[in-house]
Amino acid sequence: MDNAVEFKEVSHVYQADSPMAADALSNVSLSIKAGSFTAVIGHTGSGKSTLVQHINALLKPTAGEVKVLGKAITPDTSNKNLKSFRKHIGMVFQFPEKQLFEETVLKDVMFGPKNYGESEQNAELLAKEALNMVNLPAANFNKSPFDLSGGQMRRVAIAGVLAMKPEILIMDEPTAGLDPRGHHEIMNLAKRLNAEGVTIILVTHQMNDVTNYADDVLVMEQGKLIKHDGPRKVFSDPTWVVDHQLNLPDSASFALELASQGFNFNELPMTIDELADSIAGGSMNE
């Protein structure tokens, strides 16, 4: 199967007059390739979270059709059919550690698989495997999740999602509030899972992560999809980026600074290594 996710003219209107109305989607059509690492960017309130909540059927479209892993959801789909649908789609919410609740780390991670009918024994195997993936030392398995540090709690919460072996993993600002080491750990985990075939959908404000990790970018604004392209293409027009209240990756923004003083770039560098290569080439050659 080629596409993991397809949206056909999807709109979502929250109840009229509610303060959330600005977050709605209007007439979004898109497809996300299976096995891709897709970043969803846009200003606060642009509809990023509403968009991804349709992918794991937390929200149903009020018009149009969402197709995920071959199954369709329309405004008429009954809520009863959504649970089996969600099984293969993992969702890591913002500040997922707020959802930890069990007595021990292991029990917390086992909850998901058990909820989907795995035996106690299997659930434990899946949970341990997931905790290994997030590099949580086994010494912590029987501790209360609330005795762990913030970064460790975050990783336990993510393990709870991974224990369900999702084919699609949606992460909504998974590194907000983490220190730099925690940030690198979570992003490298996403990269590793992606290499193993998991489709990653990352909602983020951090443009360096977009160019360092993603191969596809969706740009949202006021509930509309205003651009869908590779990261290089999205950031290649700095004026467009700034006009839409987005930031450039650090490397691109530094290169523009040099360009404004007369430095020539054949192509706007997107990563720090590309930038260093261009500068070294420019000042060493000739």
Binding site: S149, G151, D179, R181, G182, N247, D273, A280, S283
Partner: protein, 277 residues
């Protein structure tokens, strides 16, 4: 030197955990901007809570503006210090923006006319006067933090502690809040302590303290701290973008200055090299 905060031989541990601070001593100069950086769990926020008297030290003394932090002086200490926390949702009490800013004044039994005047002044200071009748829940993260800062300033603290106050904000919200703090610091002669793991936020300070597992590992000016990428990474932190770029250029045999450069300085350096090639 006029130190507004002094910490002497501070010892503290949480129940059933390893000792965090063991005879920690440091002082903060009046009117300065100090960044405290360190990984999650390094003791940054705990130190702030000890200084504000939210936690009690096991031994050692903390002095705030000349008075020892203890039960008798708690009101004085809390009046002196305004704290902005990470999650703006956690610190709202008022039904509207102006109610929220007035809350601290109501607690201090300020007269109504003077309350109205202060609320107006402080909301204008943070650029949120137009939102005075809004419900806090409908604001963006950056706007919420600005309202929280207005509420804190309304009671005229001498010290402003930002406890990861920008870590939940989007890039624009973060820039807005930091710019505001810098302006307010100058206008009100505040002492600012920013607890952060954002290296760009730390770059605004005149002094950087690095905490690691309760120990003060580094106490230096930002340019010295930021120039050592290896050490920062070892401590679980990141070096600023310019330091990382300079190191990658050195690896490619481009000659680089041997001290930390900010963005403008590094741009100038590269342009000069380029003109000489």
């Amino acid at each position: 030197m006029d130190n507004i905060i002094r910490v002497d031989n501070l010892t503290f541990e949480y129940p059933e955990q390893e000792q965090l601070f063991k005879k920690l001593s440091l002082s903060i100069e009046r009117g300065s901007w100090t960044a405290i950086i360190g990984q999650n769990g390094s003791g940054k926020s705990t130190l702030a809570r000890l200084i504000d008297g939210l936690l009690e030290a096991e031994s050692g003394t903390i002095t705030v503006d000349g008075k020892v932090v203890n039960e008798d002086n708690l009101d004085f200490v809390r009046e002196s210090i305004g704290m902005v926390f990470q999650n703006p949702e956690d610190q709202f009490v008022g039904a509207t923006v102006e109610d929220d800013v007035a809350f601290g004044l109501e607690n201090r039994q300020v007269s109504r006319p003077s309350m109205i005047e202060t609320v107006q002044k402080r909301l204008k200071d943070v650029g949120m006067w137009d939102y005075r009748e809004s419900v806090p829940a409908n604001l963006s993260g950056g706007q919420k933090q600005r309202v929280a800062i207005a509420g804190i300033l309304a009671v005229n603290p001498k010290i402003l502690i930002l406890d990861e106050a920008t870590s939940m904000l989007d890039p624009k919200g973060r820039q807005d809040v930091l710019k505001l703090v810098a302006e307010l610091k100058e206008k009100n002669n505040l002492t600012v302590i920013s607890i952060t793991h954002d290296i760009d936020e730390a770059a605004l300070a005149s002094r950087v303290l690095v905490l690691n597992r309760g120990k003060l590992l580094v106490d230096d000016i930002p340019s010295n701290v930021f120039n050592d990428e290896e050490k920062l990474v070892e401590l679980g932190l990141d070096a600023p973008f310019t330091t990382r770029l300079a190191n990658r250029l050195s690896e490619r045999n481009v000659s680089m200055p041997d001290k930390y450069s900010n963005k403008e300085e590094l741009v100038q350096w590269i342009m000069q090299l380029n003109s000489k090639r």
